[in-house]
Symmetry: C2
Subunit: 84 residues, 2 copies
Amino acid sequence: MIGNIAALLTTLSFLPQAFKVIKTKNTEGISLLMYAMFVLGVFLWSIYGYMIGDMAILVSNTITFILAIVVLCYKVHSIKKSSN
Amino acid sequence: MIGNIAALLTTLSFLPQAFKVIKTKNTEGISLLMYAMFVLGVFLWSIYGYMIGDMAILVSNTITFILAIVVLCYKVHSIKKSSN
């Protein structure tokens, strides 16, 4: 039970961050290195979940991966824009 | 092996974010709701890891909890400061 709630919270927590970045286009305080590492990490978690046949790990990390990629893309975009 | 690398990446990814927030004091693009949910989530993961006796889950989530709390505190502090 606690594990499911924990997974739900850590997975869905990236939803408000993705919304905020999409709405405000402001990624100033966000660390590019964090999201690069995190996106790679949850990608590997998804593969791991697939390999051991654990749908919970696969699904929760795939959702987090999609949300975190959104934030990462906005961060990369804003860095490119500011360097032009 | 993939699971350990994934855990390492997702855990340590919050280190550059904590450093960036401490250094720049800029939390503008960061979502308060995300970190509130995420901190609660990794806290529950730590409890879950303790309950099932899984040191990897306990240790990785405790580290993430500490790093994420740093970001959350800076975010709360900057909101309080801007509302004064």
